[in-house]
Structures are given as structure tokens and as C-alpha cells.
Symmetry: C2
Subunit: 404 residues, 2 copies
Amino acid sequence: MSKVAILGFGVVGSGVAEVLQRNGAHIGEKLHGSVELKYILDVRDFPQSPFADRIIHDFAIIERDPEVDIVVETIGGARAAKEFTQRALAAGKSVVTSNKELVAKHGFELMELAQKNGVSYLYEASVGGGIPIIRPLKQCLAANEITEVCGILNGTTNYILTRMIRAGLSFDAALKEAQENGYAEADPTADIEGHDACRKICILASLAFGRHIDPEQVPTEGITNVSLADVAYADSCGRKLKLLGRAIRGEDGRIRAFVAPHLVEGENPLAGVEDVFNAITVRGNAIGDVMFYGRGAGKLPTASAVVADVMDAARNKDRPKYLDWGPGGESVTAPPDDVVSPWYVRAEASADALRGALGEITPLARAGAPENETAVLTASMPLGELKSRLAGVKAHSVFRVLED
Amino acid sequence: MSKVAILGFGVVGSGVAEVLQRNGAHIGEKLHGSVELKYILDVRDFPQSPFADRIIHDFAIIERDPEVDIVVETIGGARAAKEFTQRALAAGKSVVTSNKELVAKHGFELMELAQKNGVSYLYEASVGGGIPIIRPLKQCLAANEITEVCGILNGTTNYILTRMIRAGLSFDAALKEAQENGYAEADPTADIEGHDACRKICILASLAFGRHIDPEQVPTEGITNVSLADVAYADSCGRKLKLLGRAIRGEDGRIRAFVAPHLVEGENPLAGVEDVFNAITVRGNAIGDVMFYGRGAGKLPTASAVVADVMDAARNKDRPKYLDWGPGGESVTAPPDDVVSPWYVRAEASADALRGALGEITPLARAGAPENETAVLTASMPLGELKSRLAGVKAHSVFRVLED
């Protein structure tokens, strides 16, 4: 029998309460023991909620209650969430979180603190909403040396790109529609600038490669520079524009992680991931490529991932804890400049001028292109070479092409 | 530290030896303890193999060696494999298997025997090759009540259908090509008649719904009746022919499981699963749909799933074991006749005659169709109703249409 406290009664927190209640019998049966929701911490009151009697405002009540053995942190951000997580772990309570910012930034130190106190710090819900990805990476793919993790990690941007591709909406119009449908926040910066995807690829890369990777080590480009012209050129060569988070282990053992728009070949399963869906591909030296696909956000999917972790924490109270990854540092990563790929370049230049600069090129065409616009695919080269070749060229868009 | 014996040095068994050796350091690090391959049981000798010194021919050596705590069964079939599995479990050794026939047929009794002896019976590799699906179903989706599992579970048939669709090969020509490429056995019956997919959906359904489901309870139709005419009609309405294994929980709690060719809408992620790839979608009441995708077979992918289970068994030597599912029985399942869907019907009849028999229909067209051939999509109805409506109609092909 476990008693749970939820920190933060927002979308995910209230979803967790709902799933615990709705599937309670099923959960108890699977666990051979019940999970009971004892407290919900929030600054607000919720007099109309069926959980109103469990709302409290003082974290110390949870911290001091020895009955509470699992704390669910769905506050978000890295301030109060961090303090409460540290205090809960120090008080010998396992913590389950959906907070990608906190895990990406402070995952290693929080797992270390959990280990010191013989409890768990679990974060399945921090990446990919309800898609099971953390535990498969930790356990099912454990026999593999992983060479690359690559994914569509942010539903908001994928929705916007899908609407640009399928309905011909401009970026601004697609963003507005996403906001109207509740798929984008009033302040969409974290999504459209790629920060959210950056946090998620940091968590996946830390787990896959065993060392903490900080968001500041990951060059991040969002989708604000993607235009309908780029969408049309991509379509003309059978590709789709997707915002990818990638982490690649180089032969020197250092990790090249980055977030950027890519042209993805139509046959690649990632090209078929539309709307708010997420997908993550993992490449292992034994397994080849596997892909995990589903809703990357949403109240109940995310809550169901949190509750699966709660069940795991309840089941494994007495187990020795190992750290999921080791400490980070500058030497863990390397800039992705030496990652070789073909490139898409759209520039104010003639095809001849671009051929002169870039060497072997495949010119692309779109209806209604201005006369002085040229778009091409290049041969494979590292970013450094591309940059020096493009010196003096007025390039509007430069995106990587994802190779198989 | 664990010592392992492999039973059967075929494709998967030799892959397991290879992965244990190649990724040994990595595995030891993850496990905080080593895994050592002590014996390989086979009737043959392998004097050229780097593992020649570990080959033995008498199972009793393994059974009596107290150092061996994990036995990997990659013999296949349900005879020697069953006997050795029972003896290993009774001797207090955990067993890891890739043998879908044995798990589908005798999974419950073998898990019961494992539980009685305080050891594990693990079978991640029995479904979907290296795709992590068993553990996610067991753990990550544990907070969900699952309502349906549906998948492309057999790589051979998916390869054949893909070649029919994309290259216009006949069934026989595509099968021959699959055999030449090593994707189909000399005797392809188990694949093309759907038995392999049937075993896999049984395992997935047993795990998802918690009761043993026997292959004999699952109506199974293979792809030998799929013609190029059907492929063309499916294409004309934006759909692809796929062999699906499905298990659906009805409102009465009984499971409708079946294997049959389906027309799958082009936008459905399953439609994009080509060649020898497999994909499994799981629908939960909290998570919605999630999909797992990857190579469903092959030496190293399957071996890596086996080795992940070996690591799990090594890590959890001292843990209490719960049964993954309960006993089966006639009342666990119901015939899928009441599962409602639209249908694809190709018949020797006029459109008017088919409209008369079937009511509201959508006629389909293909180039070069004989004059007396008509193909249509029907409205949604159960199989029982369809059958009675088709009495007296000379139907060549009748396939379900997968609805979202």
C-alpha cells in the first residue's frame, strides 16, 4: 500500500488524480496492493473538485507525513519544483515527475540525491507524454550500444508544420490556429524556438549515452524561420519539413546533440508523424532502428505515464537504486559541426552561382518562385564546410536533410 | 554475476552468444555485475565457432550445474523446448525465450511453474523481434485499461504484401522472392496462413487483458487469398492490404481475437509499415493509441531482446514473481463475429446485385477488371450480418476495413 501526494493541480496533476481514481481497481490488482491519493498541494483551492478534501497549501505537511511514500511533481519549471523535489527525496520519499525542464537541467543531481536516500526519481512522463520511451531505453534496449536517438519531440511545432504542409497556412496563421485549438500556449516561445524539444533530447541522450547532457550544450534552432517556400521545395523532392531533436555518438565517444528543422524523406516513418503526435527513433548496434509513436502531450496520456511510474515506485520500494546516468561536463559533448549530411539551401542567387559555391547540387523547383530565388540540395558535407562555401551567398534558409 | 546456458545454437541462439560477447563490457556496466556464457546445448558440433568450447549435447549437465542461473531457450517448437524449459524452471533457473509457439500455447503453466520456483520466465523476444513491446505493455502502460491491441506481426507476409503493392508481383512471385531473400522459409505455411501472427496476438492479448488466450481460440486467415485485383481496388480507395492480428475487449469483458487481411486507410500509421517491418498499436483508456515499430525478426534484433531479458533476470534474482496473466478458458474469449466494421467485397456480380444484397455500398474501380467483377466497400456491420447478406453471392474476396 502506497500513499501519494501530488504537487500542482494543473492539467497533468489533475489528470494523475483522475487516472488513479478511474483505474484504481485495475492498478491495485496489478500491484497486489493499493495506491491512495492523500494530498494535493496547490496555492489555489478547488472547492468544486471531487478531490477538494485533499487540497493543502503547505508542503511541510507532506514532507513530515511518514505515510506519504511517493510524491508526484507536476508543478513545472525549475524553482519551487526543484526545492520540493529535493526536500521530498531528502525525506525518503520517491518522486515521480513530468517536468522536463527540471530533469534536463538537474536530473543527475536529483537522481544522486534519490540514490543517497534509497528512493527513486522517475521521469517517464517528461518525454513523449504517454509514449513509453524512458523505460524501454533503460531496460528493453539495454543489450544495445546506442548510436543515435532522433525524434519529433514537440507536438506544437509538429502541428504547425503539418498545417503549413497540408493546408498551406503561413507560419503565423498555423501558430494562431494551434493556439485557438489549445495546442500552443499564449506565449509559444519554448515550443517554436525549440527549447522544449531541446530539453527532451537532453533527457533521452543522457539516458542513452550515460552522461548528463545540459540544454546549454545543445545548439537549438526552432521553426520560426520555416516558410511556405521551404515547405513547397521540400515537397517537390518528396520530403517533409520536421523539427528534429537528435543526439549522435561520434567515434570519439562524444555526443553531438542538436535541435533543428530537417527535410525528411517521405518514406521515412518520421515523415508520416503528423499533427500533435510525437515519435522517437532509437538506433542500436544489435536492434537496428526502433520507433515509438503516440500522443506526445495531453492530460490523460501524460498522466498515465506518471501513474505507471508511481506503480513502479510502489513496487520497487526496497530495491537498490542505480543512477540512470553519470555526471556531465564539457568533454561529454562536441559541437555537431562535424556531423555530415546533405543540406537544403534556399538563397537569393542563380543556380549557377550556387553551383559555383556548393559544387554538386540538385536544383529544386516550386510554382511562383521569384526569379532571383534558387533552392537546392547539396552533397553531403559537415556544417563547417557548408558555412565557408556559403560565405557571400545571401541564403534565406539552410536546413539539414535527414539521411537514413 | 550470472552464468547463462543457451539451448539451441541456431540463428537466434548464435545471435545471443554474439551480443553477449560484443556488448559484454556495456552489459556488465549496466548490470553492475557480469553475465557469462557457460554452455551452449545443441545436437550438432560447431568446431569452427569461437564458442566451440562451450558446446555440449546433454541437457542434464545444465540442469545439474548450480552455477547456471539463467537458461536461454531458442530451440523453437513445443516439444524439446517445453521439456527443457520445465526442467530448467524446476531446477530453480530463470528461462528466457524467443519461442512464440511455446509461450502462446503454454505460457500460463510455464509462468506458474516459474513462480512456484521463485524464478522468472521471460519472453520479450517472442513478439516483434527486437521491438520492445512486452515490457512496455507490462509496465509503462500499466496505468491503462487496454481496449485493443492491433498489429502487423509477421514480417514475411508484410514483405509479400508490400511487393504485391509496390512492384505488382503476384502472390506466388512475391513469395518466391521472399524465399530467395531469406525472408520466408522453404515451408512458408506458418507465415502465409497466419499461424505465426496468431501466436503473437495470443501472447499480446494474454498480457494486455490478463487471461491466457490459446491459438485455437483465435480465428486465423492468412494472405493466400489476396490477389493483385484486391491490391488494386484497395489502392483505388487510398488503402493498403495488411495482415493484422487484433484483440479487442468487448463490453462483456470477453476478448475478440482474430488474424485476417484488412484494408488499412493510407493515413493510418500501420499503412506505412512496409517490407519485413512490424508494428504494434495499443489503445488504452488513458493513453489513447501508441505504436511500436521496428524489425520484427532477424538474428541481432531478436538476440538483443533476449539479452535484455537475460539482464532483467540477472537483476531480479531475488524478487517476488507475479504471474503476467491468469488461466484461460472458453469464457475468456468470444468469436469476433459481432465486431462491427465496414467490409471490402469483390464478387462475380453486378453493382446492382451487390447493392441489392448489401444495401449502401461504395463501388470501387480498377483498370482491366473483367466485366462481371464488382468490388465495393460496405457500411459497417458485423460478420454475421455480412455473411447472411452475401448468401447466394459469388464472392472472391471478403476483407475487413480497419476503422480508426
